[in-house]
């Protein structure tokens, strides 16, 4: 119980620190500008496909800027504590390292939740508005034979799943930060890992076909040691084409839970090895 309270306090303080920083406000602003700029597609006269363009852009902005926020936010909020020696002050209290790490994680994740929720709602609002207008235009009316077509509930789900993915990304960054000496190094390595996570599905398909066994081993290890982020890439399919099946949501929630829990514990391991 007491642990939960400490985690909540550290998380709350981390959240406060983040929203008082320029990086967060900057990313919120630029991502929102990106999403709003999809009003430009209005001029291209695409009909229903305009909504697809808007949703692609919206999710693209959420994934892109959300990833930056997750990595840079986690790294910066972690190293601020180290460099300002506030970590010393906190850890000299009856606070465990695991409570510190979980508090930091929760705080950053809450920041990313605020970001993802704002952007998803903004995207939904724009889609709702444009869909209403397109439905009222005679030449596109036949695109909407049964009223609104966009699956707004699914858009919310996709936003939620992206947030889970950011949770995994934040935990990875925390692991790296525990080992690393500088903020910059943490950010660079974490982005590198992010790219591997997006490409690892190639490795997992390819490894069986590689004849040279050391290479095969290496590729197999890659395929297992990094989470597959491509599997979270559901935003491109749903909302306009296909409803998101519950089995997929369940699978992704379970997957995220496993990774977030284990990676946070590993972040504690890496932080323990650190002399502060």
């Amino acid at each position: 119980m007491n642990s939960l309270r400490i985690i909540r306090l550290i998380a709350g303080n981390t959240f406060l620190e983040a929203v008082r920083q320029k990086l967060f406000l900057f990313l919120v602003f630029i991502a929102a500008a990106f999403i709003v700029s999809s009003f430009y597609f209005r001029d291209l006269d695409f009909g229903f496909s305009e909504l697809k363009f808007i949703s692609d852009f919206g999710f693209g902005a959420i994934v892109f800027f959300g990833s930056i926020l997750s990595i840079a936010g986690a790294a910066q909020l972690f190293f601020n504590e180290i460099e300002n020696r506030t970590a010393l002050t906190i850890l000299a209290k009856p606070v465990r390292r695991i409570e510190f790490i979980l508090g930091k994680f929760t705080g950053v994740w809450a920041v990313v939740l605020a970001f993802t929720a704002m952007m998803t709602l903004l995207l939904m609002a724009i889609l709702w508005y444009r869909e209403g207008i397109l439905m009222g235009m005679e030449r596109f009316a036949r695109d909407f034979p049964e009223g609104r077509k966009v699956l707004y509930g699914d858009i919310l789900w996709v936003g939620f799943l992206q947030w889970l993915k950011f949770g995994i990304l934040i935990s990875i960054t925390m692991i790296v930060a525990g080992f690393a000496r500088t903020n910059l190094f943490t950010v660079v390595i974490s982005f590198f890992i992010l790219i591997i996570c997006h490409l690892q599905y190639l490795a997992r398909d390819a490894w069986a076909e590689i004849a040279f066994w050391p290479a095969r081993m290496g590729v197999a290890v890659m395929g297992f040691a990094f989470p597959n982020f491509q599997v979270f890439n559901v935003g491109e399919y749903v909302a306009l084409y296909e409803p998101l099946p519950w089995s997929v949501i369940g699978s992704l929630v379970g997957l995220s839970a496993i990774y977030i829990i284990v990676y946070n514990l590993l972040a504690v391991v890496s932080f323990r090895s650190r002399e502060i």
Binding site: I10, N84, R85, T89, E275
Partner: protein, 309 residues
């Protein structure tokens, strides 16, 4: 009664880079801080004082040896329950006000929200920052930072208070005020471990000291014992006219005692300064009337063994 801190044969190595070269920051250190002592850990920069304190706080794991706080191994979280810590050159969260910061630390130490608030005001008033309590910590001066640092260390009313260089970079008024706070804490029954490279300053408030150099303890014991001159005796008298001095010299000469030095006692510059700005009450000196430290000095000799290393 368990000692507040007990360190036995503590050694701490830091790896240099990723290879096997190591820097020995603390070298077979043993010491014992009894309850209600003001213990000074002295020594030049880089002598391992902060490292020792971090081990006591469980922030670093010892390479060898052991460290106990109120009988508990220092790597246990519970050992820190009764400990307050002021880190060296504290920064704290710049975006919080002094009050918010102290309240947060109080809550983290397990106080309820209401109690944390109440205590925060108490300690902030106690360190004399009441007027600045609602200002952002980022705007504080060095001395204010030290004082808010002491406030956050005291918020949960710990028994043992560890202060790392509490007067470093603070002006004479500030450091005299901090010294006076330390003595008040002692009066309240607390145990204080403080470290400083400003040996003279610490001399006034400590009743027990250990002097470190390059990670080793080179001297340790009650302050009076350590600073005792070699067989000289100092006498202070009301103002003595010149002929009387001559008479005294003669009288002593008849008994085979050499009067080596006669001088007007001089004030230290910081004392002059404090008097000039009307804060003479902050001047504490060992044996002066306002605080009787001498009478309380325990004759503890444990921990002396490390001297022979």
């Amino acid at each position: 009664m368990a000692p507040a801190i007990e360190i036995k044969e503590l050694t701490k190595d830091f790896p240099l880079g990723l290879g096997k070269y190591k820097l020995r920051a603390v070298d077979h250190l043993s010491l014992r801080v009894e309850q209600n002592q003001v213990f000074g850990l002295l020594g030049p920069n880089g002598s391992g004082k902060s490292t020792t304190m971090k081990v006591i706080l469980g922030l670093l794991t010892p390479t060898a040896g052991e460290c106990r706080v109120y009988g508990l191994p220092s790597n246990k979280t519970a050992a820190r329950k009764e400990v307050g810590f002021l880190p060296e050159a504290p920064y704290f969260y710049k975006y919080l006000s002094g009050l918010e910061m102290v309240v947060l630390m109080g809550k983290i130490c397990g106080l309820s929200a209401a109690r944390a608030r109440e205590r925060a005001w108490e300690v902030i008033e106690w360190v004399g920052l009441k007027d600045a309590a609602r200002r952002r910590v980022g705007t504080y001066s060095k001395g204010m930072l030290q004082r808010i640092g002491i406030a956050q260390a005291l918020v949960h009313d710990p028994q043992l208070i560890i202060l790392d260089e509490p007067t470093a970079g603070v002006d004479p008024v500030g450091s005299a005020e901090i010294s006076s706070l330390v003595l008040k804490l002692k009066e309240a029954g607390k145990t204080i471990l403080l470290c400083s490279h400003l040996l003279a300053q610490v001399e006034d408030i400590c009743d027990h000291v250990a002097i470190m150099n390059k990670g080793r303890c080179i001297r340790q014991g009650p302050l009076a014992e350590i600073t005792e001159g070699q067989g000289d005796t100092e006498i202070r008298l009301d103002q003595l006219p010149e002929p009387e001095v001559e008479a005294l010299r003669r009288w002593l000469g008849e008994r085979g005692i050499d009067l080596r030095q006669v001088k007007r006692p001089q004030l230290r510059l910081d004392e002059v300064f404090l008097r000039e700005i009307g804060k003479a009450d902050l001047i504490y000196r060992q044996g002066s009337e306002s605080v009787q430290l001498g009478s309380q000095v325990t004759s503890d000799k444990a921990g002396k063994d490390s001297e022979n290393e």
